[in-house]
């Protein structure tokens, strides 16, 4: 099949970006979306042009490195997968595909489709951990944890930090990302000890990083490749409120 790509090109964070149009022919439907981009990049290099820069690594939907906006959707038209898991059989011959980087003040563009998501790491630095040092911990079975809580914590912990929630949110809010971590630890006895200070610090840090405010559109949940529920946002709201008033 042949497709036309309209891709955001921007040489660095300072320069002005623009859309470039590329025709890619002989795309097979077995190809992944990124393999189609690889093929285009190979042809660009052969012509001596700079290839389109995009973030990717594991190409199996777990590292969270990849993520672009494809035809108006974070990670493309299929729900519950990352961009690297998208395959070309989801497109038709003659399609025009618009590819844009994540857009958010907290995710400045570095180059082309590559954005800087270190703001998420800084939020994690402010409290995304249990303060235990290495060694000297009790036996792993010393504290039983209800399976229900452990499973729900695992649901939250499955976040891959790709930033799709921020990218798709009309306010660029990071609430789903932050709440997944706050919620995971709030559900487990190990994390419960610091839950107040954690909720407080992580929300403060999220606000400082320039993410927007949540307005409960739930677009984040719909676009999350790991389908993390907004119920974790509700839990974080609760935890934050309790932490603020007590």
């Amino acid at each position: 099949m042949n497709v036309t790509l309209k891709v955001w090109r921007q040489s660095n964070s300072q320069s002005k970006g623009f859309f470039s149009i590329y025709n890619v022919s002989d795309v097979s439907e077995e190809m992944s979306f990124f393999e189609m981009l690889d093929m285009l990049n190979e042809s660009l290099v052969e012509k001596g042009e700079e290839p389109i820069a995009f973030d990717h690594d594991c190409r199996e939907g777990i590292c969270g490195t990849c993520g672009v906006f494809i035809n108006g959707r974070a990670h493309g038209p299929i729900s519950g997968i990352t961009t690297c898991q998208l395959h070309m059989r989801r497109f038709n011959n003659g399609d025009t595909i618009i590819i844009e980087p994540w857009r958010a003040k907290a995710f400045p563009v570095i180059k082309d489709l590559v954005v800087d998501r270190t703001s998420l790491d800084r939020v994690m630095m402010s409290g995304g951990y249990v303060s235990v040092n290495t060694g000297g911990t009790p036996d792993a079975n010393a504290i039983p944890i209800s399976k229900v809580n452990a499973d729900e914590a695992m649901d939250a912990a499955s976040c891959i930090g790709c930033g799709a929630c921020v990218a798709t949110c009309k306010n660029s809010s990071a609430m789903l990302f932050v709440s997944a971590k706050v919620s995971q630890y709030a559900l487990l006895p190990q994390g419960m000890i610091e839950k107040k200070i954690r909720a407080q610090n992580m929300v403060d840090s999220m606000d400082e990083e320039g993410f927007g405010n949540c307005s409960n559109t739930y677009a984040c949940e719909a676009e999350c490749p790991k389908e993390i529920s907004v119920s974790h946002i509700a839990r974080m709201n609760r935890e934050f409120f309790k932490a603020s008033i007590s």
């Binding site: 994690m124 060694g135 912990a157």
Partner: protein, 637 residues
Amino acid sequence: MKLDAKIPEGLLAEKWTNHKFKINLVNPSNKRKYKVLIVGTGLAGASAAAALAELGYNVEAFSYHESPRRAHSIAAQGGINAAKNYPGDGDSIFRLFYDTIKGGDYRSREANVYRLAEVSNNIIDQCVAQGIPFAREYGGLLSNRSFGGAQVSRTFYARGQTGQQLLLGAYSALVRQMNTGKVNFHARTELQDIVVVDGQAKGIITRNLVTGKLESHAGDAVVMATGGYGNVFFLSTNAMASNGSAAWRAHKKGALFANPCFTQIHPTCIPVASGSQSKLTLMSESLRNDGRIWVPKKKGDDRAPGNIPEDERDYYLERLYPSFGNLVPRDVASRRAKEMCDMGHGVGATKLAVYLDFEDVIGRNGKNWVADKYGNLFDMYEEITGENPYKTPMRIYPAVHYTMGGLWVDYNLMSSIPGLYVMGEANFSDHGANRLGASALMQGLADGYFVIPYTIADYLSGNTGGFSDTSASEFIETEKGIQDNIQRMLSIKGSQTVDEIHKKLGLVMWENVGMARNKEGLKKAIIEIPKLRKEFWEDVNIPGSSNSMNTELEKAGRLADFLELGELMARDALEREESCGGHFREEFQTEENEAKRDDKNFTFVSAWEFKGVEKEPVVHKEDLVFENVKLTTRSYK
């Protein structure tokens, strides 16, 4: 050069305890005087950075990723082994040690493996304390499952995302130290070379992948946790950026490279679909518990699988290994699949695949039962291939997965360059010739949390600390060498892309240094690889400049090293005239086509010394001494 593994004296079970007591310590208030440079922040690197910072050392950590959470440790699915014996099925530290030594086909060190088994329990305690949501039973206690190569249930898991959860645990410990300022993390920063001053590793040169700037960093020790080199094959289950450059550049600076030919090929991967394939996806090994592997009996049979009647199917693993059937170890399953395809029984468009069929289990237990157990994997398979595995059998083929070889280290994890430590997949230490499932995560965290924090003190205590002189001539010269090399690559402006040459290398490696090797093929590889190297240095085309983000330049630098490393792998495989674990030499097999080890002549570690790119390397042998286990032949009949 004499290799001293520094294995402590005494009984096996007491070696580590005694060693910890005997080695030198750094006084708590003196630790802040030392700076440790940690390259790579996956499981091993992140855990080491956190543990060292907690102790009070100053840590500079480096990753080519934007965040430590992106490391490929994250992709491990199955789980992590530990000798907790929670199910009460007879597990013990010794049994875990024994299984690991045996699984590695007796090509690893007893003392290292025993220590690994010993600290495995601490790892689980540590991870639970960090809030890692391991799977649990209804009573609230931790759940275990069984895994290949073991007769006990000792694998702890977090759904199919154990690697992710363990990495995020180590990452959480790391960000906590970043927050205190004890760890300074350098994102999107790739190691270019290590700097050796007066025979000791004292610094590194890095390249900022966003600005292209080369930077010098000085410290009192360098720790590398830079992963494996499976991408030398171009196609592997490794992440796209995984590479062997850090290890290789350290090797060129004098660090010995051990057992480079020991590569693990994983049997259940989704086969290559087209020439533009960029990487291979692993389907969890657990599928072999319920799926049946077969090929058509007739060569070149083009019928759809459903149209091939039962009596024209060859369930070859069940036929060859009646007692283990589809559950033979990874290396055996992989080799047999290749054999079937080589004989013309392969299926699918490329004929490089075998069927993994769930028809029987669906008939027996129903579709829902299968969906409950493997739903995610089936969905993933369908998304990639467009075929519904509930209806047609999956097609699978082996793929390069893990490299047991790596930089040679002693018991303290120090390489042959004083002050340079190597951890995780980047070192060679614990898995011998074959790694058992759910052991990679264990080793990464053992090295990072529980070994290096002790052993590094032994070295540091002999130094005054506070080395910070990046103006030393060694730094200037190394940086200049890198700069020249980059400019040389950029100025070639030939006619081939980096990936084109990499694919050629991958093909040579896969054909000759892959699942089954022979003298002729290996000799051919030793001739072919230098030719490709020449091709690269004369004909590669890298657009763009060195002073901005340039993904082609990054890939080119990594390929340049693979083009040297690949040759060493072939040499090592040629030298090792036996079959063991993941290394199968066709000349050395039993009458039943099983691997034939030669314990008399090859019970050693091959540690290679670099002598120059176009010069033959020199091998040093570290004899392996087995005092606690008896060397036996693996049989899965």
